[in-house]
Symmetry: C2
Subunit: 491 residues, 2 copies
């Protein structure tokens, strides 16, 4: 029974694009580069949101909401920020349409031109720091620990569902602190929260590190990141947390009176993860049969499919199914009973495999006789016959086991795909061979990084936080280096 899905080995990129659409996660819209997130995909995103939101609130953050539009002039106030975003900004220039002269078409009303153009936010530092100026007078007003869930727009020429879209959904935290130390701690804390979320909810192992100057956020002093590895050996930046120094406070004149009454500029962080995480989730675990979802993020954790030949059997099975659903729901497990008579069991099996439902329970006439259910797990496609009295506990354990197994599997894959290399030939060989992260010495200059990128398309994904002190020589220039950094091709 085929899913008609391109396999990963045939064409990884095509496999991904097809899978996202066929599993009902998202699709392209009539608006160039903008996606529609379909209900099944959005349900996964909602689970991500709920968990992240809980983690943010537990660490003292509150949500707020800032305007979608940013006056053009705000952008120029932080020099490197505008350089980073100017080339991909959607710009609102008018505020009214009118009927054309033919009385039918509509056109932009030239009389309704804005005095100052508005940028659709690509990120909100500028509008938020313009606001914070009014919120901060004294050290008593600090810290400000605010997050917002929002849509942002970055006009991309080449887009891919979830991974790179003109509009995407994200959260952006923006905090303000009295001291540099506190701001750095906050930026590090948020990186750790992202890593915790990625590993324990998404089952995606990540490497924590800092970005090189080349890859740093436009306006940041330091960018912390978590980097994941996809099944095709390419890296994916899964979240970033920026220590912004006093750059935005200076650009927007945000000062506070310290305990001694002296005026100082405020210290800042910002941090975000986006619907890009959906892409990372799909690409880390899924296989040629479709999605594989970690139980912690699966909208449906268990599906029950009845197999019957007549109404009598159907009724008896439904009774068992309803009983089972009740017991599973009591444990907080989300379960669906697919009792549609419009589709055959085989079709349903296929469908739930494609959609990555972790556990499938089939109940047929034999099971009624024997007091058993058939339990299939999505990750390794194995099946077991389980006595029905033991099913609830079995399923509960299975969900925990699968969550761990998915993480372990991804962790093993990554372990096999971090390669230490000491020559540039080896570098290129590994990169074009099995891919993955390449751990190599680098002389610390942006020029060398650029050159390597030009020659190989690999960039420095991060300088790992657990980097070992190690004398070495740069893989390209031979110049001295004090430790290895991680290179990879990246999404």
């Amino acid at each position: 029974m085929g899913k008609n899905l391109t396999t990963r080995s045939e064409d990884y990129s095509k496999w991904y694009n097809e899978l996202v659409v066929k599993a009902d996660l998202a699709e392209n819209s009539g608006v160039r580069g903008c996606m529609v997130i379909k209900p099944y995909g959005y349900a996964i995103w909602e689970k991500m949101q709920a968990e992240l939101d809980r983690m943010f609130k537990e660490t003292g953050h509150q949500n707020a909401y800032f305007p979608l539009f940013i006056p053009k002039s705000y952008f120029s106030k932080e020099a490197s920020h505008v350089d980073g975003f100017a080339k991909e900004c959607a710009v609102v220039t008018h505020y009214r349409l009118k009927t054309g002269e033919d009385g039918k078409t509509i056109e932009v009303d030239p009389d309704a031109k804005l005095e100052e153009e508005l940028i659709v936010r690509p990120t909100s530092e500028t509008i938020i720091w313009d606001t914070y100026r009014g919120w901060v007078q004294s050290y008593r007003d600090l810290p400000i620990m605010v997050n917002q869930w929002a849509n942002v727009v970055r006009w991309e020429m080449r887009t891919r569902l979830f991974l790179r879209t003109a509009e995407f959904l994200w959260q952006e935290g923006h905090t303000a602190h009295a001291t540099e130390k506190e701001a750095i701690q906050e930026a590090e804390q948020m990186m750790n929260i992202y890593a915790d979320f990625a590993e324990n909810f998404m089952a995606v192992p990540v490497i924590k590190g800092v970005k090189t100057a080349n890859e740093r956020f436009a306006g940041a002093v330091e960018t912390y990141c978590i980097e994941a590895l996809m099944q095709d050996g390419k890296a994916l930046q899964a979240g970033t947390s920026h220590f912004l120094g006093q750059n935005f406070a200076k650009a927007f004149d945000v000062k506070f009176a310290n305990k001694e009454g002296k005026q100082e500029h405020v210290w800042a962080t910002s941090w975000g993860v986006s619907t890009r995480l959906m892409g990372a989730l799909v690409m880390t675990h899924s296989d040629d049969n479709g999605l594989v979802l970690p139980p912690n993020l699966a909208p449906i954790q268990v599906v029950i499919v009845p197999i019957y030949r007549n109404d009598e059997q159907f009724d008896a099975i439904s009774e068992e199914a309803n009983e089972l659903m009740k017991s599973l729901r009591k444990l907080g497990i989300s379960v669906k009973y697919d009792n549609r008579d419009t589709h055959k069991p085989g079709w349903k099996f296929n469908e739930y495999e494609l959609k990555g439902v972790p556990v499938r329970i089939a109940i047929g006439p034999k099971d009624l006789e024997n007091g058993t259910f058939e339990i299939a797990r999505r990750d390794n496609l194995t099946k077991e016959i389980i006595a029905k009295d033991a099913v609830v506990e079995h399923v509960q354990n299975l969900l925990e086991e699968m969550q761990k197994a998915l993480f372990e599997k991804a962790l093993n894959y990554r372990a096999e795909h971090i390669t230490e290399v000491d020559s540039f030939d080896e570098f290129k060989e590994v990169l074009e061979g099995k891919g993955g992260f390449i751990s190599a010495h680098w002389d610390g200059t942006p020029e060398t990084e650029d050159k390597i990128k030009e020659l190989t398309k690999a960039t420095i994904r991060c300088i790992p936080l657990d980097k070992k002190e190690e004398e070495g020589s740069c893989v390209l220039t031979g110049n001295p280096s004090k430790g290895r950094v991680l290179f990879a091709k990246a999404y």
Copy 2:
């Protein structure tokens, strides 16, 4: 101890504007007409969202996300829809900025002009129905029961925080059905859910009805609404649910094969509530001392304020407070202990009154001696001394009582402000006097409704669903009428 707040009788409008800002709900931003929703205000909105989202999901709806931008041409496809929204659309015309010739300023890059302008969604019927075309083939694909939480933009010339802003947050449900009957039932169901939410969570009594043709949503066959009454005698439309007939299905060619295999156009509804509800909440309950929040929507339901002269007292009080917090939280009551030593108790009392925290508990040295706490309720500003063993139960009951009391108070106010009138002189007299809803006969023509609006600024808020059959003559024209409708000046 003054809040420095304009009183309602001095200037209701000014009172509202000041209160929203002083209670930290929202403020104007640097972007004309766009607001910043501050953390305290956003926390109330989050409570509204959570409750509404629960109600939507319980009735079979799922969330999804559609693009922010709508190609201009989509708008012209439904004729009355474009007429309704064209005059207030923010239009994206370019997708890039560049550095100006001075090397400093940035300007819109004229080479980056979009082929087709994009409208920032004022509502999403067009982009959603363009998407639904791909989702519907047969009756098996119906109904589609989808909602989205999103920001929308309607370019308003005169804006007011929450009530009318260029950008606002809302939810918009968009459903597709096989039959007219089912779609009408859905539209009615959603109106009932909104009414249930308004009355039981916001404690805001509402009248259910349908709009006249003049006030109908652009593109709807019937607009159901809930109408609330503010303390200044003006009405506020708090939610609408539209039966859209086959208008959008025809405009976007969305057909399905029915059970007999015949192609039919799909039937539609859409329904929404917005951050405008925040304005309704504030204006219904609050008083000259500040916000009054119904316990069901208060981010902080109980605040504990210690009153002490020395560390020993503070420690003893804190012990009591911590104990009390634990007990209240076990019951799901949100409670804050304000142990800041930077502010005096009187300042805190004032602050929590301004912010509408329903219950304030003060603990002082006397209370330690006597084994009592002082409990103050925000709605009627009364205080009681309660034995500490009885406090938890007392507070729990108090919260329920206040929720009911606020609704009753608002209901009484409304009852006193629905006036039946039978002459146009009386109509004008009541309108300019106590205001409120005026129940009057109307001849059913848009011309009469327009004329009355021109003469008095009052519009027909709704034709109530519980309208009594009653022969009468139109309050303006004397022409025959079969029942009374509700007029009011409105926000």
